[in-house]
Amino acid sequence: MMVCAAVFFGLLSSGLTDQTHADVSPAVPVQSSWFVDMQRFQKGAHANFKCEECHGSMIEDGHTHPDPNRPDFLKTSATRQFDYRRCQKCHKLSYQRYLKGKHAKALKEETESAGKAKAPVKETQPAKEKYPAPTCGECHSAHYDPAGMSRVAVGARMTSRCGRCHKEYSESYLDNIHGKLGVNLADKASAFCTDCHGAHSVVALEKQQDTLIVCQRCHPKAASEFTQFVIHASVSDSAAKESPKNNSIVWIRRVQTVAIAVVALSLIFFFGHTILWLLREKHEKLRKH
């Protein structure tokens, strides 16, 4: 078993060849590779699994395995090749939620557009960076992710992991009190990405009534206007323009600009005044000697 795993190849059965994005996805965990580090694997949550339990047998699809003669040998991204439907054998609920969420929808659209003849991809939002739609493996490392992590450790990890694609949102979350408390100060009562947006269902929370239910999990007395608080207030201008809270973000920035100006001018005045005063007193003392 271990010999087989030492140089480990995923299933090459999928017909999906990843032409558009190759393997430059920022989402793919850095450790993602066709090769498995068995020392790390044995510390992971799946350490007691045999390879075949997830990958099937080596002759399953009629190829010899590994097959160095295949043109895409070692050239494709491991996380784009694996058939993640296999995960639902154990993680049924998570998988069903994933199917209902935005990530699965994006993957479906991507697969459909890749299946069509090389028709020009319809760019609805040309300015936006486009990442490959996430499979299970884009967020989870089946080989290495440990089990039994604390809530705070999971929260900190997901903040950086979601941030691989949603960089502005993880950064602006860290500027918000929830991120500061949860990630920076290890407060398990704080809210992490998935506490609001769902782990597998991936909800954007664009509707106020959806958001209110989410807020009330921790703030049971919250009323509808409470949802208009902006968590991701420090996103870029272009991301803010897409947000229904854009108007609020504009005002927060205006107030912040004025506040910074007042603080800066006050400090210039006070420091200038104090330095002049100290110099004058020193001068008077020296003159007397």
């Binding site: 007395k221 208009q228 006070f270 420091f271």
Partner: protein, 240 residues
């Protein structure tokens, strides 16, 4: 000169109430700054160390609120003192001896600037409170109110958003954060620098703790107040 009758070290500048509230402010303000900055600059090692020291964010949050209450209570108590002084003791809240801003402060400021850069041979004719001391006082008095209002919004966001737009909570956060930075920098560097680290008073001006000042210092720093005391119009204890 009639100053022979006044013992040189018995000149009172600050009443017991002033000194007490100043002590409360020192501890309250420091606790607020330490716990608040631990949240504001939570990504830094000192912030994490402080949170570890007090035993978690929940403790830090209650420390912050406790310090806020005792600090704000000193504002309330001084406000009540003003009312008592004005309406029961029939004192004057304005005038040369008071902490109230006046036109003379502007003149003093201009003259002091001229003195700093050498256009005037001597400092202005300061009375009991110089314009710097008034700024120090009113910065705290007004700042505690604005920090208190924004802090209450952040303490009870669920209640406030029943009648305020949700974005006001964000705006309260922005104002609370930047005003905290201004207040801490001004108190830590400017106030301590002006009041304690100037060459003439270095290393510390103890008058805010003892209430007393010397005749020489009063003649040099508060000449108008000194003339009033020396002329017997004032016992040197009247605080407002």
């Amino acid at each position: 000169m009639p100053d022979q009758t006044i013992p040189p070290d018995r000149l009172m500048r600050f009443s017991v109430l002033d000194r007490l509230l100043h002590l409360v402010l020192i501890f309250g303000f420091t606790g607020l700054a330490a716990s608040g900055f631990s949240l504001g600059f939570s990504a830094t090692a000192p912030a994490r160390a402080f949170i570890w020291l007090v035993g978690g964010t929940a403790h830090a949050a209650w420390l912050h609120r406790f310090c806020a209450i005792i600090t704000y209570s000193s504002v309330v108590i001084h406000g009540l003192w003003f009312l008592y002084f004005r309406f029961v003791l029939r004192g004057r809240l304005t005038g040369p001896r008071s902490i109230a801003p006046s036109k003379k402060d502007l003149k003093d400021f201009k003259q002091n600037m001229a003195y700093f850069i050498g256009w005037r041979p001597s400092p202005p004719d300061f009375d009991k409170f110089t314009y710097m001391e008034k700024i120090d006082y009113w910065a705290i008095f007004i700042g505690m109110n604005t920090m208190g209002i924004t802090g209450l919004i952040l303490w009870f966001p669920e209640w406030f958003t029943r009648f305020l737009p949700g974005v006001w909570v964000n705006i309260a956060q922005v104002l609370h954060y930047w005003e905290a930075i201004l207040a801490v920098v001004v108190k830590l560097f400017i106030h301590v620098g002006m009041a304690h680290l100037r060459p003439t008073v270095y290393p510390a001006d103890t008058s805010i703790f003892s209430g007393r000042t010397t005749r020489e210092r009063m003649m040099a720093e508060h000449p108008a107040e000194w003339r009033s005391i020396a002329a017997g119009r004032d016992k040197g204890i009247e605080t407002e």
